[in-house]
Symmetry: C2
């Protein structure tokens, strides 16, 4: 009864990795470094999944209930974002301008939480920023394709709040929304609210 993982030793069944959803032979290509990284981010990623599970348990329910769950996740993210940015900016210099703040979110902040940088940052220079992550950590455990697209809002709400909370603590009021077309890529749109 003391096997490392009996489930994965059952013969005759081709199992995907529970983390990256690749089959073992593909996954074996992963470098040591990548696998170390994966384990490192796993506690946060799994806790986030269970949080969604906990908050949205009555998920096959009405739209208004789903809406409330998404709002709860967003608010929770907001507070985590506030706490996180306070730690991250403790020793940083002041930021020059709004764009400088957004770059910090795309690099340092994103790396701290999601172990990679944002792949693409675009702006209309009028207060709208679009942050694109081509392989978003919190979508990676869902199958690629369109199968789970309808569940995407649940998996993105926490992060929308996270970004809004971080910006808010840096004195930037914003509205943050997210959009997925093909998993696990997604875009976060930040609309700065001038005060």
């Amino acid at each position: 009864p003391l096997h490392a993982s009996r489930r994965q030793q059952r013969p005759g069944r081709r199992r995907r990795c529970s983390g990256c959803r690749r089959f073992p032979e593909e996954a074996a290509v992963r470098s040591q470094q990548e696998s170390g990284k994966m384990a490192h981010e796993a506690p946060f990623q799994l806790l986030h999944s269970e949080l969604i599970h906990y908050i949205c348990k009555s998920a096959d329910s009405t739209d208004s209930e789903n809406g409330r769950s998404v709002t709860k996740l967003e608010n929770l993210g907001f507070r985590v974002g506030q706490g996180l940015i306070e730690r991250l900016t403790k020793d940083t210099a002041r930021f020059k301008d709004e764009l400088d703040v957004m770059k910090f979110i795309c690099k340092d902040f994103w790396t701290c939480v999601f172990k990679k940088q944002i792949d693409n940052l675009r702006t209309n220079h009028q207060g709208i920023y679009v942050l694109q992550d081509n392989k978003f950590l919190l979508l990676c455990h869902l199958s690629a394709g369109k199968q789970y697209l309808e569940h995407a809002p649940k998996y993105l709400a926490f992060t929308c709040g996270l970004v809004r909370g971080a910006l808010s603590n840096m004195g930037v009021k914003s509205i943050v929304t997210a959009e997925v077309s093909v998993m696990p890529a997604c875009k976060f749109q930040v609309m700065i609210q001038k005060v």
Copy 2:
């Protein structure tokens, strides 16, 4: 409005670090490495705090309500522990015996989640193990001393579930409880349930 952290720039007030609760002059002694580590573990730690806040919001309530909150946290931890051990043991060899399993929990598993090993593992060789962590990550943000002792169960329930879930996925059924005498040190007691 774009300062890194205006709150920390307010003059005339001696502020503790929001992470380790030390004053800046003490905190400055921290090595770069330690501060990098701190940022790394922050998302998980903050998410855990907010989870407690969310689940125990009506916390100044009856004992039975508190009990229910603690059970919810424990169950959530259980599922995270299951998921985590599955990833961590994917490439490991079989475990020799129960003690071997416990050592894996104290080293690899603990390091993955809490960024340090268990400081002391004791056993009566009859199915009881005591894991002692002298500086437990999820208690580090509470003030040391006895001030918050009554809140400790909330902060330990998730981890009790985490250990129970991990062991359960390795075929070891157990009861896990926790005990704090002086923050941020704590002991987890694992009682193996023979089947």
